[in-house]
């Protein structure tokens, strides 16, 4: 058995115990130096022992800006524009670091997001590494906010699944969480987990925004959700929202759908995803089976 195969089996967990999934906020993780970052993240993940760990959005920009590689860090837009031409080179280090970390810990690691430049276009993209350290999937953000369009980002036009060795996962990048087409396309292709790399600014109704986002996508699609939200102040913005591991309502003891969430100063939310629970939830509220495509016809284009 190769190390990758061993890691895959360990990560998937399988059986009655299920895979342990963790959503991290990066709160308290040192980001001003890539070595410190790797050390802190490695210690944290070794303690949690997840099979799947998901980091929030803007990890790459956060690390680049915090490491002193950017000069225009007073505004998010300014930092973004300065980062764009440097992204390809920075990504070599960013991706290598997370690939090595995934391999070292034998886990699936969604490394958050960076800017991907291809064919003169710029995409906001999440990357996932497997337990052998290999790149096993990436996902471009498919829906853009007005600000993201003004910053020159392009939309991805594909939604693919990543096989975690027994259960399939789709990545939901940033604002895609508020567009239910994304979760539906992924779920109908067979996704059992929606992993979200998010970054919401602190506001009076942040939780309501999250309920309208990943929580709603999970409930509509009978799947698990691993929602990583950035908790940092950088480049003039205060990002702060709840990290959570979500399931169909009835998989949580209080029927909230929250298997675990941050809110009391924790650095991550973690929980085991038991497929038997999800199957039972689908029987009690078979949302996908009761879809009515005849009523949609061509009206969703």
């Amino acid at each position: 058995m190769t190390a990758a195969e061993y890691g895959r089996r360990r990560a998937a967990g399988g059986g009655l115990h299920g895979m342990k999934a963790a959503a991290l906020s990066l709160d308290g993780v040192r980001v001003n130096n890539l070595d410190y970052y790797r050390e802190d993240l490695s210690l944290l993940l070794a303690e949690i022992k997840p099979g799947l760990a998901v980091l929030p959005a803007h990890t790459s920009l956060l690390l680049c800006a915090s490491a002193g590689e950017l000069t225009e860090t007073r505004s998010f837009g300014g930092a973004f524009r300065e980062f764009r031409p440097k992204a390809a080179q920075w990504n070599e280090r960013f991706l290598a670091l997370h690939g090595a970390l995934a391999g070292e810990l034998g886990i699936y690691l969604v490394a958050g997001t960076t800017l991907e430049i291809e064919g003169g276009r710029c995409y906001h993209t999440a990357y996932c590494f497997g337990p052998g350290g290999e790149l096993c999937g990436r996902q471009r953000q498919t829906h853009l906010s007005r600000e993201e369009r003004e910053l020159g980002l392009s939309r991805g036009v594909e939604l693919d699944l990543i096989d975690l060795g027994g259960i399939k996962m789709g990545l939901v990048v940033a604002t895609d969480a508020r567009h239910p087409e994304v979760g539906r396309i992924l779920a109908l292709q067979g996704a059992g987990i929606l992993a979200h790399t998010g970054a919401l600014e602190r506001s009076a109704n942040t939780l309501a925004q999250q309920l309208a986002g990943m929580w709603a996508q999970v409930q509509q699609n009978e799947c698990w959700g691993v929602e990583a939200q950035l908790s940092r102040v950088f480049c003039g913005r205060d990002f702060h929202a709840r990290c959570a591991v979500l399931g169909p309502c009835v998989t949580a003891a209080d029927l909230s759908g929250y298997l675990s969430h941050t809110g009391g100063g924790e650095q991550c939310a973690a929980a085991r995803l038991k497929e038997e629970d999800r199957r039972r939830a689908g029987e009690s509220f078979p949302a996908l089976r009761m879809l009515n495509p005849a009523a949609y016809k061509g009206n969703l284009l």
Binding site: E158, L211, A212, L255, A295, L300
Partner: protein, 355 residues
């Protein structure tokens, strides 16, 4: 039904007689004390009422008419242009059938009608609907048409289990302030229990241009699917009138799976009415309310008004600013459409539906 032959025919004629529209209209004429015209609109601001009705079986159909009248009058007194009644709003009328209460109790003992208990050997809800539907349709129409006209209301009468072409439909009706039937909508997404009752689902959504703006009538579970509200938004609908009747103990999170997130995904206003309480075989809970995109509520909650109790009667009233809705749609901070993505996956992706 246990009756057959001439007894059955005689009993059916009796039901038609006690439910005849002329009797309903005469009854209401004697009770409507002051008529009201539709209040003028302040710009494009619509005042709406979401009604929460307590379920009970009425042995006398005129008691049902009185109950609907009382709620319509309350809504009119609150100065609304629009009032919304709940799902299964003909269920209370099944009380006119002798033995229904006992059959419901038997079904409840067998696990509740909503869990299929009513399909036991005593009586099936499907058979009851086929039997009684021709009697109740004219009564329902006479009741809500008269009330809408008398109180100058756009009145969504709720949804009704009806027999049509040998199948059962869960159909919502909208009446205008002139008493005219504006249109109807068949529920398109069913609960598993409705599948067991052989309810036939609708295969399209309707939008109705009215003096209040463009309205639609999705029914209960239709609000658990983003597809419904995407289509309504595309049709230009501004207010969705949603009747519900949830046959389960109330839980905030379970209830949250309905209209609220749909309005955040597709900017519309939503007026949700609820049937609550117990009738034999069913235990309904819910909280009627008026909801909006978060950006259009002062506290950012997406809730404009909501009935406090999940088991008692109530009414939620709020004003809906349709100009503000249009402005939000035209200048939304984060919404986007990715037509290349949708064209790649829709509609073929729906062939993957499990089961």
């Amino acid at each position: 039904m246990a009756l057959n032959g001439w007894k059955e025919r005689l009993f059916r004629r009796y039901l038609f007689w006690i439910c005849r529209p002329s009797r309903v209209k005469k009854h209401l004429a004697g009770r409507i004390e002051s008529r009201r015209a539709l209040p003028p609109l302040d710009g494009r601001k619509v005042r709406a009422a979401a009604l929460q009705l307590e379920a009970r079986l009425f042995k006398n159909p005129l008691d049902y008419v009185d109950a609907m009248h009382r709620r319509a009058r309350e809504a009119a007194a609150a100065g609304v242009h629009l009032a919304v009644f709940p799902e299964y709003n003909n269920l209370p009328l099944l009380g006119i059938l002798p033995g229904v209460e006992q059959a419901g109790e038997a079904a409840e003992a067998a696990g509740g009608a909503e869990n299929g208990g009513a399909k036991g050997p005593v009586i099936s809800l499907e058979d009851v609907i086929h039997y009684v539907s021709p009697v109740l349709k004219p009564l329902v129409h006479a009741t809500f048409s008269t009330l809408a006209e008398a109180y100058g209301l756009y009145l969504m009468a709720g949804s009704f289990l009806l027999s049509e072409d040998g199948t059962v439909r869960n159909r919502a009706f909208l009446y205008g302030p002139d008493g005219r039937l504006i249109g109807s909508q068949d529920k398109a997404h069913l609960m598993p229990a409705e599948e067991q009752f052989n309810v036939t689902r609708g295969d399209h959504f309707e939008a109705f241009e009215t003096g209040l703006g463009k309205l639609a009538l999705p029914v209960c579970m239709d609000a658990s699917y983003f597809e419904t509200f995407r289509i309504l938004e595309k049709m230009g609908v501004e207010i969705a009138l949603l009747p519900i009747a949830n046959a389960e103990p109330y839980n905030y999170w379970l209830a949250l799976r309905g209209i609220w997130p749909r309005l955040q995904e597709s900017p519309l206003y939503g007026v949700k009415s609820a049937l609550v309480g117990r009738v034999p075989g069913f235990y309904f809970t819910g909280r009627a309310g008026i909801f909006a995109p978060m950006e259009l509520t002062p506290d950012g909650s997406g809730v404009l008004a909501e009935v406090a109790s999940s088991e008692a009667e109530g009414m939620a009233v709020a004003e809906l600013d349709l100009d503000a809705l249009q402005a939000l749609r035209q200048n939304h901070p984060w919404r986007d459409r990715n037509r290349a993505l949708y064209a790649r996956y829709f509609p073929a992706i729906y062939e993957q539906i499990p089961g």
